[in-house]
């Protein structure tokens, strides 16, 4: 067996342990160095990711392919950005600053494993490896009751959704007698040919799967935990949750769905399209009413997952490649917006949208960046979000899902009005008391990466699209 293909994860895990241990021996004022150390580990892991090959391990349990590599890149990038921001944010954390970084790393390892999982036990354990550190991270600001509440809610809902997912897994195991995705696929084909229409057990298990992943992805109607958790959690963790953990849920969903379930002749399109439409409509409309930027971004990310699902509903190579591509575009724009919110919060202690008034006067560059991130989230050309949405919609139009695309574009118009609401505060309103936002080094790095990502992907999407289309070739349609 070629163990080198699992090297990026192994390395990062050992690195996380190293950070855990060195946390004990580091003086309180030097803990920021642990953050830089974690960043180094991620960089090495990215290097390892692209230098190791593809292949399968443990008898098809773990497979490193273009899809997993693409998403591992997304996870590593989002965790890099998150940690880079947290170095400055950790002034708000009173104790165990080093562990904060290490927990993010462990969660990232979980995500990376998850993106390679092709067996349900492995998938479940990696999923838990993703979420359990996140429960802790959400509750990390100990004296802040909001943070504890976010931790509690996230933990309870996360555990319930895991249990629901597990119940689905147990049913599918009972029906097919295996936990390997590719074997489930063959059994389902055989079942379908022998038995015909869907049985109640299989139907239930599909529903449980969709509900379980729906919770993880915060799809409407399984979204109610997301806004509270996003608002209460430390903002870097929120950024990480909104991108990293979503992408992780997404890739697991993609694997389960396209690797095995899809063969079963079931009305997938209607179910998924309904979920996508609901997420886009409710996410965007409720986001209109928000006054807190973190909550607003939480609802907007619910809607964004709806858009991503539009690509999935197409059930085509184009669809999956656009899903992967959009995830990358979303990563930079969304984390970027959060980073600006973090910089603002560090200085002013507020995350209310109305407190952003007049920001363009005191911090023009930061405002400009926020504008670019938000416009990319809306999908205004020539930014990354536009190209991504265009391809998502193209995939759906190809399959004649015009009604879904019409809903998607109409809700995009709605989304424009609340994103623009922030711009309105920053640019059109005057506020003589607005402070100048200081941008520390870590935040500066993160902002730079995000802005380059958003603009570069928008103008020259070719290499990223190639990568995404390779990722999409992993599945057969």
């Amino acid at each position: 067996m070629n163990f080198s293909i699992i090297l990026p994860e192994t390395f990062l895990f050992l690195w996380a342990i190293l950070i855990f241990v060195s946390d004990f021996f580091t003086k309180e004022e030097k803990k920021a160095n642990l953050g830089y150390l974690s960043l180094l580990g991620i960089l090495v892991s990215i290097f390892l990711l692209f230098s190791t090959g593809q292949g399968e391990l443990f008898g098809k349990v773990y497979s490193s392919d273009a899809l997993s590599q693409f998403f591992k890149m997304v996870f590593l990038l989002s965790s890099f950005l998150t940690i880079s921001v947290s170095i400055d944010f950790s002034s708000k954390i009173q104790r165990h600053k080093g562990e904060f970084f290490a927990l993010i790393l462990v969660s990232t390892v979980g995500m990376m494993l998850l993106s390679s999982a092709r067996e349900l036990i492995f998938l479940y354990v990696s999923l838990e490896l993703v979420t359990i550190p996140l429960y802790v991270l959400a509750a990390y600001l100990k004296p802040d009751p909001k943070s504890a509440e976010a931790g509690l809610k996230y933990m309870l809902l996360g555990a319930i959704s895991s249990a629901i997912l597990l119940y689905g897994i147990s049913l599918i195991y009972g029906i097919t007698g295996t936990t390997f995705l590719n074997e489930i696929k063959t059994r389902l084909i055989v079942d379908y040919l022998q038995i015909g229409p869907i049985g109640s057990g299989l139907f239930l298990s599909f529903i449980f799967f969709i509900a379980g992943f729906g919770f993880k992805l915060a799809l409407v109607p399984f979204h109610m935990w997301a806004p509270d958790v996003y608002e209460g959690a430390p903002t870097p963790v929120t950024a990480f949750l909104s991108v990293g953990s979503k992408a992780a849920g997404l890739v697991a969903f993609l694997r389960v769905f396209f690797d095995s379930f899809l063969v079963y002749n079931f009305d997938w399109v209607t179910i998924m399209a309904t979920l996508a439409a609901l997420s886009m409509i409710i996410g965007n409309i409720v986001a209109l009413l928000q006054t807190n930027i973190k909550r607003m971004l939480a609802y907007s990310s619910i809607a964004q997952v709806g858009y991503i699902l539009v690509g999935m509903v197409a059930i085509s190579e184009r669809g999956v490649s656009s899903v992967a591509f959009y995830t990358l575009a979303y990563l930079f724009a969304n984390i970027g917006a959060f980073v600006v919110a973090i910089a603002f919060e560090l200085q002013t202690g507020s995350s209310e949208i109305k407190d952003y008034s007049g920001l363009s006067r005191t911090s023009p560059i930061l405002s400009l960046m926020m504008m670019i991130f938000l416009l990319s989230l809306v999908g205004i050309p020539p930014l990354a979000g536009f190209v991504g949405k265009y391809f998502l919609f193209a995939a759906a139009v190809e399959k004649n899902l015009i009604w879904l695309v019409v809903i998607a574009v109409l809700t995009s118009v709605i989304s424009l009005s609340y994103y623009v609401g922030v711009l309105k505060e920053m640019y059109f309103r005057k506020n003589e008391e607005q402070v100048k936002i200081r941008i520390p080094l870590g935040i500066r790095i993160a902002l730079l990466i995000c802005i380059i990502g958003v603009i570069l992907i928008g103008l020259f999407p070719n290499p990223f699209l190639d990568f995404a289309s390779q990722a999409a070739l992993v599945f057969k349609y």
């Binding site: 205004i380 050309p381 139009v397 574009v409 118009v413 640019y427 059109f428």
Partner: protein, 521 residues
């Protein structure tokens, strides 16, 4: 050179904007002169287009066609023909003028203002020269943002409302165009087996009749909102009234033309049958727009909103010309786009100039100022008369051609349109009378200063253009003619072939559906 000239025209303003970002924001003088130099350079470059344009060639010239996003068949395809040439020239000219006109009006955030103006210029030129539907959409949509900030930051008291309304209206319209573009893209794939957004390739596509109607409406909604046609015009007066002078100039002078240009460039050749079917509907809407705009203008108390509503009326003329679907009508329509850009742009400039002095735009606050500011009044007169369409001015040629075209297609539209001209004379002359003549009621008006040199320099080229086009429109018309003729012939041929072979088209459609069904399996 001739291959890269259009690229230069689009990206010089962008480069200029980036350059301005590096300049210290407190150095307003340098910022202004830099921005003006960049826009002037762009204008001079665009003159290269005019002088090297081959009048006999009906197709696209100065073309550049490169692959941009390979996986999706998106190309970087630019080119101009006789129709878009003058719109590009208009854009570069008005941009330079608009930057010059905001010399003293803009006092805060000069840097951001100039950057926005230059980006807006790049976007506008991009819209007129793009020959790839994806690229076109990128410019079309991307241009919203600079305009949004232009109105939102430097606008009047109700700017926040006006900007949101403007952005939501235009976005709502264009978003359906996005869907339609994607549908066209896949139709083209099913027909040719090639993924392409290239306009010249999609043009070859015989689109079945029923699909044409839907696609036509998806495109037409975007363009009709931009024009704006009655009943989608409600955003326009708000945006105009709140926008700073330069914003109004570009909005009226260039942005509105994108709608009419879109009808001519995309709706007509892509969906000829649907276009012909919709002639009655759109002609009626155009006539309603002409008369409604004129009537509402008559009642305005604010000079700027009077000019704004007169735009609705004038653009109605343009639409009437385009939907006459004959040589005179379309040529008149294109010419009138230019004329309206010049005259209404100039009207907004003049209103801006007097607003800077008195900080009011209410007609009743003025009266009798012709004696105080004679130079200003002369300019105002000339421009207003050209807007009415007095013989000898540019407006006359355009409106005459349009009415001729409308007369040849359906007399009733021409007659109703002519009423619009009469009404235009009523509201313009009445406004002139109340502002310039009568007795001076307001003491403050006695202290008004006349135009300074910069303002005169701004207006001189416009006045020259007004008379040049008014007396000798031949150079413009002759450059337009081959392109328009070609377009009309093409449309006739294509619509005939689609009508006669509609059975065959259905077959193609069925085949496409079948192939997509088999692919799904």
């Amino acid at each position: 050179m001739s291959e890269y000239i259009l690229t230069l025209l689009v990206f010089i303003p962008v480069a200029g904007a980036l350059l301005l970002l590096l300049v210290n924001g407190s150095n307003a003088g340098l910022l202004k002169s830099l921005a003006f130099m960049v826009s002037l350079l762009n204008f001079i470059l665009s003159l290269y287009l005019y002088f090297n344009f081959d009048s006999l060639n009906p197709g696209f010239q100065f073309e550049i066609n490169r692959v941009w996003i390979q996986n999706f068949g998106i190309s970087y395809h630019l080119g101009v023909d006789g129709i878009s040439l003058f719109l590009v020239l208009l854009t570069t000219l008005l941009s330079a003028i608009a930057i010059l006109s905001s010399w003293s009006a803009i006092k805060e955030k000069v840097k951001e203002y100039m950057v926005t103006m230059l980006l807006l210029e790049a976007g506008m030129i991009g819209v007129f020269v793009s020959l790839d539907l994806f690229l076109f959409y990128v410019f079309w949509e991307g241009m919203l943002i600079p305009m949004y900030f232009l109105i939102g930051i430097w606008g009047g008291p109700r700017k926040v409302y006006a900007t949101i309304k403007f952005v939501l209206f235009t976005m709502l319209g264009s978003i359906f165009m996005l869907v339609a573009i994607l549908v066209l893209y896949f139709m083209n794939y099913n027909y040719t087996g090639q993924y392409s957004f290239n306009f010249t390739e999609i043009l070859q596509l015989p689109i079945p009749l029923n699909a044409q109607v839907w696609l036509f409406f998806a495109f037409a909604l975007a363009f009709a909102i931009k024009v704006p046609m009655f009943p989608f015009h409600t955003w326009l007066p708000d945006a105009h009234v709140e926008a700073p002078t330069a914003g109004s100039v570009l909005l009226a002078g260039v942005l509105l033309k994108m709608g009419t240009y879109g009808f001519l460039r995309f709706c007509l050749p892509l969906f000829p049958n649907a276009f012909m079917d919709m002639i009655p509907l759109f002609s009626i809407l155009a006539v309603i727009g002409i008369i409604y705009g004129a009537l509402v203008s008559t009642m305005q108390k604010d000079i700027k909103s009077l000019v704004a509503f007169s735009s609705v009326s004038h653009l109605g003329f343009v639409m009437l010309g385009l939907f006459a679907l004959n040589m005179q009508g379309i040529q008149g329509g294109v010419l009138q786009m230019i004329n309206h850009g010049i005259s209404t742009g100039a009207l907004f400039l003049i209103v801006g100039m007097i607003y800077e002095r008195r900080h009011t735009r209410m007609i009743e606050d003025y009266g009798g100022i012709a004696r105080v500011v004679p130079i200003f009044s002369i300019f105002f007169m000339i421009v207003a008369l050209s807007s009415i369409g007095l013989p000898g001015t540019n407006g006359f040629v355009g409106e005459f051609l349009i009415l001729l075209g409308a007369f040849n297609s359906r007399i009733i539209y021409a007659v109703l349109g002519a009423i619009g001209i009469i009404l235009a004379a009523v509201y313009m002359l009445w406004m002139l009378q109340r502002v310039l003549f009568q007795t001076i009621k307001n003491e403050e008006n006695k202290k008004l200063l006349d135009l300074n040199l910069r303002e005169i320099i701004i207006l001189i080229p416009i006045i020259l253009l007004i008379f040049w086009i008014g007396f000798y429109p031949q150079p413009l018309l002759s450059k337009m003619e081959p392109a328009v003729k070609n377009l009309l012939e093409y449309v006739e041929q294509k619509s005939d072939s689609i009508t006669s072979s509609s059975g065959e088209c259905d077959k193609i459609c069925e085949k496409a559906e079948e192939s997509s069904i088999t692919k799904e399996k």
